[in-house]
């Protein structure tokens, strides 16, 4: 099976989750309050009080067949808004 890691702004989280659900993935997990740095600069959580939010880390395990659908839904979001998406191998314990 495949493991997909997405790291992106909390701002786009709802859209990304919709794309994940549309892809037919059997599940996903989300961690918020992730800080970091990427091509768009540093993301901290110092402005959390204002609702500005930080990044989210989404993990999902799925069959390889799901990937094309997932890519199709998510790639345009990452291209436009920023964030990273990587795939790796993973097998059930």
């Amino acid at each position: 099976m495949k493991r997909v890691d997405l790291i992106l702004s909390e701002r786009e989280l709802d859209k990304v989750i919709k794309a994940i659900e549309a892809s037919g993935a059997p599940g996903y997990s989300v961690m918020k309050h992730v800080t970091g740095k990427g091509p768009h600069g540093v993301v901290s959580d110092a402005m959390d009080f204002s609702g500005l939010g930080a990044n989210a880390h989404v993990i999902l395990f799925c069959e390889p067949e799901i990937l094309p659908k997932l890519r199709e839904g998510i790639q345009p979001l990452l291209d436009y808004y920023g964030g990273v998406a990587f795939v790796a191998e993973a097998n059930p314990l």
Binding site: G41, A46, M47, D48, F49, S50, G51, L52
Partner: protein, 331 residues
């Protein structure tokens, strides 16, 4: 400018705690108020200021200066972003210009509250309806900002048809701080006449704690504002200049309008502070959702890193001096 006013402002607990936060960053202390604790204070302050404003609005009603003042405030929140935008466009792209412009059309509730505390310490009275003006200045500024983006920038977002009006109005009127402020204001109005017992039991929470909670929150604001200082180098002298001069211009216009409206000194100062302050809560959150192309470090650093400290520290007493000079004391 009356230096004793500046000094009295500087030596009030909220401003001193703001400094303490700034100093913490400058000397490299690891003092921090971890998320989501600052959110607790921010929610509390919005709820309390809305509720108290509502109580007073219920007593003052909408007669007299109330409606004209609110209208003038809304007008300023529509106009300020427009001339700010064209000023900013000389150096910035449309997205960033529009986002910063919206920020300056809107208001800073904490600056407003600090001005209220300043007035109280000077024993100058003011009216509750000014909170209604405060609450009503956020949304128009956001809408104008997004309109400017829509007009000036070709949209090519993955959401297909670009920004839709629904989303814009949604962000403008329903973003959490506008919603909580307006909601608490309405609750204050409803409760004022119908639930005297409820009012009395709310006051220890919304009134007595208020000043201390403001001081605590300003400690965090000092930390966050000072952390922004390094962004300012990237922002450059143009934006830093804008962040000081635009509030001064808006304050000056504000005094003239306040004079035209016949506001007395207390309300005039609050009106001026509304004009001169820039939003670093509601508008940045809204811009980040709807104008992701703009760089948050620019619009947050100007509003929070320059304009906010400027207003808190020298702006408020300076505007007070201006008000004292240009508006004859009611007698």
């Amino acid at each position: 400018m009356d230096t004793s006013l500046v000094l009295q402002n500087l030596l009030s607990p909220p401003v001193l705690f703001f400094f303490l936060g700034v100093v913490a960053v400058l000397v490299g202390s690891d003092l921090e108020i971890p998320a989501p604790l600052p959110k607790l204070f921010s929610l509390y302050l919005l709820l309390a200021i809305g509720f108290r404003g509502g109580l007073e609005l219920a007593h003052s009603g909408l007669g007299g200066q109330v409606l004209p003042t609110i209208l003038a405030a809304v007008l300023m929140s529509l106009v300020v972003p427009i001339y700010s935008f064209f000023t900013l466009k000389t150096k910035l792209d449309n997205f960033n210009a529009a986002a910063i412009a919206a920020t300056y059309g809107s208001i800073s509730a904490v600056t407003f509250i600090t001005a209220q505390s300043f007035l109280e310490s000077q024993k100058i009275s003011f009216d509750g309806f000014m909170v209604a003006a405060l609450a009503l200045m956020e949304s128009p500024a956001i809408i104008v900002g997004l309109l400017l983006v829509k007009l000036a920038a070709p949209q090519k977002r993955p959401d297909a048809k670009g920004m839709r009006w629904g989303a814009v109005l949604h962000e403008a009127f329903l973003n959490s701080s506008v919603f909580l402020l307006m909601g608490s204001l309405i609750i204050g109005v409803l409760v004022a006449s119908n639930s005297p017992h409820g009012v009395e039991k709310m006051l220890p929470f919304t009134d007595k704690l208020f000043y201390g909670a403001l001081s605590f929150f300003l400690l965090d604001m000092g930390i966050v504002a000072a952390q922004r200082l390094s962004d300012l180098r990237k922002a450059g002298p143009f934006l830093i200049g804008f962040a000081v001069l635009m509030p001064l211009l808006n304050a000056f216009l504000g005094v003239l309008i306040a004079k035209g409206l016949g506001l007395d000194h207390g309300n005039a100062l609050l009106f001026v502070v509304l004009c001169a302050s820039a939003s670093y809560i509601a508008v940045p959150a809204a811009m980040r959702m709807t104008v992701p192309e703009a760089n948050p470090s620019l619009y947050i650093s100007t509003a929070l890193g320059v304009t906010f400290p400027f207003n808190i520290i020298v702006g408020i007493p300076a505007y007070m001096a201006l008000v004292n000079k240009l508006i004859p004391a009611a007698s």
